[in-house]
């Protein structure tokens, strides 16, 4: 699909990194303010989608992106599963999903066990997944062959 006019492209250059940074802020403060992994991941995907809409789609470049996005998405959930399984090995109780990192003071950025790590991993997965859904729907329609 074709891109948009030059005004939209210039504004995209300025605004898309700011959106991405805002998404990272919501993810990292997930245990202190509302938001967390899923909401921050969606905002991060929004920055990516904004770029594609304003610049148009270039098929070979986006196919290479699809490869790395799939690996990022699966690694995200695998990381979450590994954090859950580490609770089996390292905590004192030896049970699935137990909180095994030290919880600090309430309100600090570094506190609450493994919850910030889980937020980061979930955000990586969600942003990759939503970008993949967008790519699959809009850009790869040229690959669908018509029926016989």
């Amino acid at each position: 699909m074709k891109g948009m006019s030059i005004i939209v492209q210039k504004i995209c250059q300025i605004v898309a990194p700011v959106i991405f940074l805002f998404g990272i802020y919501i993810v990292i403060h997930g245990h202190l303010t509302p938001g967390g992994g899923f909401a921050g991941g969606v905002i991060m995907a929004g920055a990516f989608i904004f770029q594609i809409i304003s610049y148009g789609s270039d098929l070979p470049k986006l196919q290479k992106k699809e490869f790395s996005l799939e690996i990022l998405e699966s690694s995200g959930i695998l990381g979450f599963l590994i954090i859950a399984c580490l609770g089996l090995l390292f905590s004192t109780v030896g049970i699935f999903f137990a909180n095994f990192l030290p919880t600090g003071k309430i309100g600090e950025l570094v506190s609450a066990g493994y919850i910030p790590l889980a937020n980061i991993v979930v955000a990586a997965e969600v942003s990759a997944a939503i970008s993949l859904i967008f790519l699959a729907m809009i850009v790869f329609k040229e690959e669908i062959s018509d029926d016989r």
């Binding site: 003071k105 309100g107 729907m137 669908i144 029926d147």
Partner: protein
Amino acid sequence: MILYILCFVLFMVGLYGVLVKRNLIKIIIGLAIIEYSVFLFLILIGYVKDGTAPILNSEAEGAIFVDPLPQAMVLTAIVIGLATTAMLLSIAIRLYRKYGTFDIREIRSLKG
């Protein structure tokens, strides 16, 4: 009490959309309205009078919080609803490429 009845009315509006409309996209929008009405209903259940957001800060000890469990349930259900809608839309796009139309009266190759 009136709010719960309004949630139910919204459910009926979505169900009307699923049953009566003939365009595939309008059926999907009807399903989305049904989902959102159920999420609204779940959040309304957890309301406590004069409660604030249920996040534990260092200054808000001993305040009244609204119930956080329905909020966690609705967050999970929103993600599931997103996956369902994405799945439905992908099938609708493929159907359009195969049949050339969104009208469900034309998409009838299975009978009996």
